[in-house]
Amino acid sequence: MEITVHQIMFALFSAIILVFSVLTVTTRRILRAATFLLLVLVSTAGLYFMLNYQFMAGVQLTLYAGGIVVLIIFSILLTSHISQKFEAVGWRKAYFSALASIAGAILCITTILQHKFQATTEAAKEIDMKLIGNSLLGTGRDGYVLPFEVISVLLLAAMIGAIVVAKRKKTKE
């Protein structure tokens, strides 16, 4: 069996995702955890490129890797010392959490591997920006204008809420 470039890329991306997502949740330095999370999110964008969803990959890179990780790093710098190390997780907690996670993973993976997925026979749709824009603002059968508007209201509410919550209260003296 011949190994294609795509398979090598897929193996690389999934290795990065697996190693660094485990490191994200186990490392004892918080800034390193944020950096590992950034690597996981960037290689997820790589997986989206492999699925031919270029727009989603771009959104992933700008919004997740660019926006959320920067937000997380800022809040880390505001709330903890960089050199601070977490105390190690107690073995009991670590053991039972790992047991639950591994059991869940094994259950899900066996289910996935046993199930026969049936693809449609319809021809694949070419996804370009014009189609995405028309669907996002379309009101017809494949239109998403209602969730689009709802999510803009949600983003506005989240923005106002974040400002109100994080604002320092005025002191009397």
């Binding site: 795509h6 949740v25 809040s75 049936q118 494949d142």
Partner: protein, 106 residues
């Protein structure tokens, strides 16, 4: 051939392992920001699942694509509000460990 011969199950296995890494972090971490990071891992693996199902099973439709687009937008809003709350908690308690924050009223 679409996707150059990589089976759908490979993507699903990767996203499952990522999901349960996030679950492990959610169960063991005590710092609020690291818990938030575990939640981001979980959301991200769900996004991969939506896109993979969309690409492999229904390539003529766009539902999974837009669903994960909206999930990313909601995750951004959620991270912004959560970090505002975390900074507020830090101001009042001087720590963001979940075990030391046990008062709703200050």
């Amino acid at each position: 051939m679409l996707n150059a011969g990589i089976p759908m199950e490979a993507f699903l296995v990767v996203s499952t392992l990522m999901f349960f890494a996030g679950v492990y972090g959610f169960l063991t971490r005590r710092n609020l920001i690291t818990i938030l990071m575990s939640v981001e891992l979980i959301l991200n693996s769900v996004n991969i699942n939506f896109l993979v199902f969309n690409r492999f099973l229904f390539p003529d439709k766009l539902q999974g694509h837009f669903f994960s687009l909206f999930i990313i937008a909601i995750a951004a809003a959620e991270a912004a509000v959560a970090i505002a709350i975390i900074i507020n908690i830090y101001r009042h308690f001087n720590t963001i460990n979940v075990e030391n924050v046990d008062k709703m009223k200050y």
